[in-house]
């Protein structure tokens, strides 16, 4: 009979081993699923994990990797603060949309003025503010009325999607678009375009912002008082109270950080890779970023790696869709599985397995 015994201290080794093991198990089980779908499993796994980096068309797909990883990392870094402190903002998708809409509206308000030095920074600020306002709603309701922030932030995703549809069809619709839904193309308007900084590298301002966020988050968590408060509140809310941590303030700051970063991610996306506000320019980064945050162990460097890995499954998934006819839903399933296996393997971090009889 196997029993679990709590470790006195979480295992340092398993903190690193667990995510790697989870990826390996996901590959194996994913291969079985692909085989059941009648696709060659090894080839599918290779197409997803190897070809985007080193395959025949890698020069095309490598920049794509950074383009996809940028928003995932940026959002996941923001989420990681709250998740550490037991504050569950799962509506990053909505904050992402609202940031994008605020930024697009700001940029389009100046169209066709030529003043990149003014307009682009203003759009970044608008993106940050848009996401922040949307995240402030569940934060305020939790502090003032003890409303569950998980449910409120999630409900607000659906509200944001409705606003997005309305914007694409009405207020922000391209007046020269012959009545088609969708805004003007922001990536072709020189003052608002989120350009590639190094040609063919995929590095745009959003990727730079993501890297900056990783570095800042690392120092805040490791060195700053606020990082200490966050970790303390997550491990023992009671102890945090005695140490003078204002719980309400912590909720507010954590939610605002995650909202701001999600909003910024939306801004960089709508002015760059997506290009314009349409009915469905959001592709679920806000939800995938939750997986990224956990897979990266809520640690900035871990999130950086996890974000790149998750971007790889997106790109590789698209390749596998083209070359093997692997259904797109299989990739979504694959990403969900990854989080499942991570949570399963994670038991080893805090517990050890004992063989022998229970008394």
């Amino acid at each position: 009979m196997l029993t679990l015994e709590k470790r006195a201290q979480p295992s340092k080794a398993w903190v690193y081993v667990a995510p790697i093991l989870a990826v390996i198990i996901t590959m194996i089980v994913g291969g079985v699923v692909f085989a059941m779908l009648g696709k060659p499993p090894l080839e599918a796994i290779r197409t997803i994990f190897y070809d985007p980096l080193f395959g025949d068309f890698a020069s095309y797909s490598r920049p794509q990797l950074l383009i996809k990883a940028g928003p995932l990392i940026l959002i996941a870094i923001g989420l990681s603060f709250g998740f550490r402190a037991g504050i569950w903002n799962i509506g990053a998708e909505g904050q992402y949309i609202m940031g994008a809409l605020a930024a697009a509206a700001t940029g389009l308000a100046f169209y066709p003025m030529e003043a990149r030095w003014l307009i682009f920074p203003l759009m970044v600020l608008a993106g940050l503010a848009g996401g922040m306002v949307w995240a402030a709603i569940p934060a305020f309701l939790r502090i003032r009325f003890k409303t569950n922030e998980i449910l409120v932030s999630l409900m607000l995703v659906y509200v944001a999607e409705a606003i997005q549809a309305s914007m694409a069809l009405n207020l922000l619709r391209n007046p020269d678009g012959h009545g088609f839904p969708g805004s003007r193309n922001l990536s072709q308007y020189p003052s608002s375009a989120n350009l590639e900084l190094i040609a063919n590298s995929g590095v745009h301002w959003g990727v730079m912002a993501a890297l900056t966020a990783v570095i800042f988050a690392y120092f805040i968590l490791a060195r700053h008082r606020f990082g200490f408060d966050v970790r303390l509140a997550g491990q023992s809310p009671r102890a945090a109270g005695f140490a003078g941590v204002d719980a309400g303030r912590l909720v507010f700051i954590c939610m605002l950080i995650s909202g701001a970063l999600a909003g910024a991610a939306g801004m960089f996306e709508v002015s760059g890779p997506a290009g314009r506000v349409s009915i469905d320019f959001n592709v679920g980064y806000g939800f995938t970023a939750i997986i990224v945050a956990f897979l990266g162990r809520l640690h900035p460097v871990g999130i950086l790696i996890a974000g790149l890995l998750m971007a790889l499954t997106y790109i590789g998934g698209e390749l596998a869709q083209l070359s093997l006819g692997l259904p797109g839903a299989a990739i979504q399933l694959f990403q969900g599985m990854l989080l499942f296996f991570l949570l399963a393997v994670d038991v080893m971090t805090s517990y050890r397995i004992r063989f022998g009889k229970t008394e």
């Binding site: 409303t147 409120v152 409900m155 659906y158 309305s166 939750i290 839903a329 805090s350």
Partner: protein
Amino acid sequence: MDFSSINPILLLASLMVAATPIILAAAGELVVERAGVLNLGVEGMMITGAITGFIATVTTGSPWIGFVAAAAGGAGLSLLFAFLTQILLSNQVATGLALTLFGLGLSALLGQGYNGIKAPEFPRIDIPVISEIPVLGPILFSHDPMVYVGIGIVAGIWYFLRYSRAGLVLRAVGENHEAAHALGYHVIRIRVLAIMFGGACAGLGGAYISLVRVPQWTDGMTAGAGWIALAIVVFASWRPWRLLIGAYLFGGVTVLQLNFQAAGIAIPVEYLAMSPYIATILVLVLMSAGRAPGSLGKIFHASR
């Protein structure tokens, strides 16, 4: 704008239908939470039930078999959650989210090739005599059987929790798992059974959407119904009958906004479409005074 096109009797009748998937899913989740487990994967279990029920119905031609398959699909998926949270002691919030993401992917994969097919009709039954009562008859007594199954499940849960010994044990486990364990109750076993019941109910709720309300299959068609069901449980303060009020309130807002859309009211369609979600938030704000079960969401590990 033409409000005269809105028929109040039809409106109330369709309110009953709109509330049913929420009632089914929320009833299951209520039992799960009373056992002290927070399963945020309702949306994933609903959508899985929606597709397994749809596939079974299209294959066999019988909606009844479809609903059984949906319950099995939802319960099957919930077993994953039960295994992770009860045996491997994982975080319930994260695992519930994973279940939703996984369920959405799984259902999209299973549902390939079922897009655009119409499910065989699930006939309404007019309950003899009482369905002919004017006004009340068409509102209350002229629906498909699942509407009554949903209400029946709520009544059954109310009786189970309040009057049965097993219900008392389940509540004890939810209020204080350490004490229940010390008394010799099998905390894990009871919770796994509760989670499976919750999964089966969520599956039924999902299948009601794909088989009766729409009735078609499209990816992600539950559109947040599972999350609304979670909110309704909080609104109900974990009490079965209040759950019905919450669900009908939600159903009312949904049906009303659809009627406004049809009547061509001057508010854009997109803003009407968001009203059920805003109503849910408002309801959560106004009604979050209830007391949650004592051990809700906490990990139970019997240490010796």
